[in-house]
């Protein structure tokens, strides 16, 4: 006896030798049948008869083989492998079906995977700091009514005095670092470069818990007032400007013309809140200064929850501390404390969008599933006869279900693999399309987590779409199927109709949602923000403080604007401290009108401050409603003045002549009462969605800002841009000119999130529409094919072709109408949650819904008409002969 291998190994090996074994069995059975036949021949039968009799007596060869397999090998694995081989053959034969299913699943799974990987990287993945979930930002906060100018601005930046008190008193939080954005011009390494920085306190890096790649971070000594300036570089800046030179540490660079020593380089990918920060310096706040007397609120605070402390505990404690401080200091009256987890800080803006898009792509996937289930049903109906024969030959019901499930799983996995490729491409497109700081991640990628997700999703999809057809088919009586001859098979029409109705309903939800978002972006782009944004070029400049004293700054901007105004095509030019609408104001502060009683600080009215040069309102075509705007003559005269906007006049100077009023604003060291010389039209503040806020305009001479945004009204923005930069360089060759773009472009960028919402959801909705119409088309084509004989008879009996077409189209439109009705109802309910994403349109906007239904009706009519025409072309004779 030969040495026998352990049974398990033999079984596993049997998986690989199945073909040989199969042949072996077939030969063995052939021998048996042959022997039976010979016996019958001996008994006097003819050869043919003997063979038939032998086969009859032998029973099903197939069954023998299948039972044989059941005994050998690892049954389930082997069966499934056989199913896969069997199926791959079948799928290759029906290429159209396979392509349709795989592409449909690719769309559904691909879109889902792409959005999931964004969600994963933004919302689910750990923050890039050790125990990052413990990090929180801490704000002062005020009741909506007493502070701030916009309803949304409840949190406020922090006074250094409060920061220091929190740090001393809190038992639940540790760290308490302050940070503040800062922008400086880096010179001495290549071309002048405008670098975004954060100035931070010594606690900053220890609180985040990130170690430098090279050198050191900031020490308490660096953070002392008047200490020598040092800087920590981002990996990106170190790479691009210092060629990754390790000797960069210790080098002296110049930032705003002040020498700064590089003391360290952070590891790649280190960031805090913003992508584009490339330098960190010490904020050097004097911790002994009486900050409540000398300054307002101007720092941000980040802290870390102590281990084991829940955020709720920290909130309770900090609110108590805030209440105590509010009771102690006049400065803190009405002030409380708000704690925001860093995660929320990072994703607050896009979270709602992402969740809505994830929901949308989920709906798209279910449309895809309905579609594929429908295709599988159609296919299994046409395969009914094959399946019935297999059943007759002894394949068990479970074996049939298994085969169909394996088929749908294989299709789903192939579709999923293509979907991952699609996701890869669309993520690149998304990063290219989204403005730098919208997503707050440097890149989006497909990694193992995402792959696992895609695989899981594919398998689930495969099971979901396969299970219903499989059970339905396997449950059919095989006798009925064979008798039906595979022609008038029951194709479970009710279920297929239900699937189409579901698809239509979900498509309607998607289309309505996308329609609302598209309406939003149209409304935002068309919103009248109070000025003429066309043909205006903007660019930003920051003057280094070391070389530019106050008067020099004013004369620099006057000289620069004069040079730009002289350029060909330029109609006018002016500057302001930031971009209109989306740029932050210079500040918000208390103000007081001469001749009225002066209130204690917490009750004083508040206004926004903007700084502009002469010609600003003319350049942006903001109407001057009363009086006049600043002129060059004002800049030369010793008499100073203010301009206010309409909102200010309306809210505060209702009953008096604004041009007769004098006001002062607590903004600088000395704040004289100045006359109001003009009232100008309102401009949206914060975003095009928002209303104007009461604003006082300073002329640049009164408040000589370092950084200004230039506005140039020109007939040829392209040429003017280059010429303007050259003109600025002629005046000072060490300045970095940044963000050169049209005002229209800048505003469009400010609504990039809304644009992204509209674009992505629109893409999903159109995919859904295509899938749903394919589903409808497929169903009707099938119905027509099945009714060929009946239609033939009707034509032969003289039924008008128009009536025939109408009956097919009508059948299709009836399903669509039911689906649409359900969809509209569901959309009405579901889309309410989109409220905050919308602008200029309500979630139940009738015209959007009507447009969606119109589009749907047109597409559905087209999808129904093609099969209807085919019905009308049926040749009666051919149809009747067909059997």
């Amino acid at each position: 006896m030969a040495l026998r291998m352990p049974r398990f190994i033999r079984r596993v090996m049997a998986l690989f030798t199945w073909r040989r074994r199969d042949d072996d069995m077939a030969r063995e059975m052939a021998f048996h049948i042959d022997a039976l036949a010979r016996e019958s021949v001996r008994a006097g039968m003819s050869d043919d008869e003997a063979q038939r009799e032998a086969r009859r007596r032998f029973g099903s060869v197939l069954r023998q083989k299948e039972r044989g397999h059941d005994v050998k090998g690892v049954p389930l694995v082997e069966d499934i492998m056989r199913d896969i081989r069997h199926m791959a053959r079948g799928l290759r034969k029906s290429l159209g079906f396979t392509t349709a299913v795989v592409l449909t699943l690719m769309l559904g799974i691909g879109g889902n995977t792409a959005i999931f990987s964004v969600i994963d990287q933004l919302l689910l993945r750990p923050l890039p700091y050790p125990n990052g979930e413990q990090l929180v930002t801490v704000y002062e906060s005020f009741p909506r009514s007493t502070f701030g100018t916009s309803a949304r601005r409840m949190r406020n930046v922090v006074s250094p005095a409060n920061w220091l008190d929190w740090q001393r008193e809190s038992r639940t939080l540790r760290g308490f670092a302050v940070y503040r954005a800062f922008s400086g011009t880096l010179t001495g390494v290549g071309d002048p470069l405008q670098v975004n920085s954060q100035v931070v306190s010594a606690e900053f890096f220890p609180t985040l818990g990130v170690k430098p790649l090279l050198g050191r971070t900031l020490t308490p000594e660096d953070d002392r007032p008047k200490a020598p300036l040092v800087s920590v570089l981002s990996h990106r800046l170190w790479e691009s400007r210092f060629g990754s030179d390790p000797k960069a540490v210790g080098r002296i660079i110049r930032v705003n013309d002040v020498p700064v020593e590089i003391v360290g380089v952070m590891p790649p990918g280190f960031r805090f809140l913003y992508q584009d920060v490339d330098m960190w310096g010490a904020i050097q706040l004097d911790r002994n200064e009486a900050w409540r007397q000398t300054a307002g609120r101007f720092v941000n605070v980040v802290a870390r929850l102590k281990p084991g402390v829940a955020i709720g505990e920290a909130r309770t404690e900090m609110e108590a501390i805030g209440a105590r401080l509010a009771a102690t200091y006049e400065f803190n009256k009405n002030s409380s404390v708000t704690i925001v987890p860093l995660r929320e800080e990072l994703t607050g803006e896009v979270q709602t969008s992402l969740i809505v898009l994830y929901a949308a792509v989920g709906v798209l996937l279910s449309i895809a599933c309905f579609n594929v289930a429908n295709l599988l049903l159609a296919r299994s109906a046409s395969r009914r006869r094959e399946i019935a024969i297999r059943t007759a030959l002894g394949a068990g019901r479970l074996a049939i279900i298994r085969q169909l499930l394996v088929e749908s799983l294989l299709l789903a996995v192939v579709g999923g693999a293509l979907g991952v490729a699609l996701a890869r491409l669309s993520l690149d497109a998304l990063v290219a399309f989204a403005p730098a700081d919208l997503l707050r991640v440097p890149e989006l990628y497909v990694d193992r987590r995402v792959l696992m997700y895609a695989l899981g999703l594919s398998v689930m999809t495969g099971l979901v779409v396969g299970i219903v057809p499989a059970i339905l088919v396997a449950g059919q009586s095989m006798v009925a199927s064979i008798r039906a001859g595979g022609l008038t098979v029951t194709h479970s029409p009710r279920i297929r109709q239900a699937l189409v109705i579901c698809q239509v309903a979900m498509t309607v939800i998607l289309l309505c949602g996308a329609g609302l978002l598209v309406r939003t972006i149209i409304a935002l782009n068309g919103a009248n923000s109070g000025f003429d944004k066309q043909n205006v070029l903007t660019m930003e400049l920051v003057l280094p403080g070391a070389r530019y004293k106050a008067e020099q700054r004013t004369s620099f901007y006057a000289q620069t604007l004069a040079a730009i105004r002289a350029l060909p095509g330029v109609e006018s030019a002016a500057a302001a401290n930031s971009l209109a609408v989306v740029g932050p104001p210079r500040g918000g502060s208390w103000w007081h009108r001469l001749g009225t009683p002066e209130l204690p600080p917490p009750e004083r009215p508040v206004t926004l401050i903007r700084v502009v040069t002469p010609g600003y309102f003319r350049t942006l075509r903001i109407p001057v409603l009363r009086g006049r705007e600043f002129t060059d003559a004002d800049e030369a005269s010793p008499n100073q003045s203010f301009i206010v906007n309409e909102a200010f006049a309306r809210q505060f100077l209702k009953d008096i002549d604004p041009l007769a009023a004098s006001v002062k604003v607590w903004m600088q060291y000395t704040n004289p009462y100045l006359p109001i010389i003009g009232v100008v039209g309102d401009v949206s503040e914060g975003s095009v969605r928002d209303n104007a806020q009461p604003t006082v305009f300073y002329s640049h001479r009164q408040m000589p800002e370092f950084g200004m945004t230039l506005f140039v009204r020109t007939s040829q923005p392209g040429a003017t841009a280059a010429a303007s930069v050259a003109a600025i360089r002629r005046i000072d060759s060490n300045l970095a000119v940044t963000k050169i773009r049209t005002l229209e472009g800048a505003l469009a960028e400010s609504v990039a999130r809304e644009r992204l919402n509209a674009l992505v959801s629109g893409a999903f909705a159109l995919s859904g529409l295509i899938l749903a119409s394919l589903g409808l088309y497929g169903l009707l084509t099938f119905v027509v094919a099945e009714r060929t004989k009946e239609i033939g008879i009707r034509i032969a009996l003289g039924a008008p072709l128009g009536w025939l077409k109408g009956s097919v189209v009508g059948g299709g439109l009836r399903l669509v109408a039911i689906g649409a009705a359900i969809g509209v109802g569901a959309a009405w309910l579901v889309l309410r949650s989109m409220g905050t994403l919308l602008f200029g349109v309500t979630p139940g906007d009738v015209s959007t819904y009507a447009a969606v239904l119109g589009l749907l009706a047109a597409v559905a009519a087209l999808a129904s008409y093609v099969p209807a025409r085919r019905a009308a072309q049926v040749e009666p004779l051919v149809a009747l002969r067909q059997e």
Binding site: A2, R27, F31, H32, G59, Q64, G68, D70, V71
Partner: protein, 114 residues
């Protein structure tokens, strides 16, 4: 009920196959014919049961197979007992005898009692 019947039959068929191979190697058709003849045409071995049983026995290592020429010089797969199979045949046989004796005894007793 049906299940137990099937089990009994299967066990019996295995025993009959093993015992029939005791006298020498044979192919599937030969085994079926032999059992049919020896039982005076009472036992008709379904091919649908025979081959699965053969594969199962081979799997259990009780029989082994080999392609060989028949007396008519045609290729057939011949099965023969392994040493383990021979022992199993003996054991199965004794078990069967015990069982059938027991069943017979019970039936007799019941008949007399009734």
């Amino acid at each position: 009920m049906a299940v137990r019947q099937f089990d009994l039959l299967q066990g019996t068929l295995d025993l009959l196959i093993l015992k029939s191979l005791n006298t020498g190697a044979n192919h599937g058709y030969g085994i079926a014919t032999r059992l049919h003849q020896l039982s005076d045409d009472v036992l008709k071995v379904e091919e649908g049961s025979l081959y699965p049983a053969l594969y199962r026995l081979e799997e259990q290592g009780l029989i082994e197979s080999e392609w060989r020429a028949t007396e008519n010089n045609r290729k057939a797969k011949f099965y023969s007992l392994t040493r383990k199979g021979r022992a199993a045949a003996q054991a199965e046989h004794e078990a069967w005898l015990r069982l059938s004796k027991a069943v017979t005894r019970v039936l007799k007793a019941l008949e007399q009692g009734a």
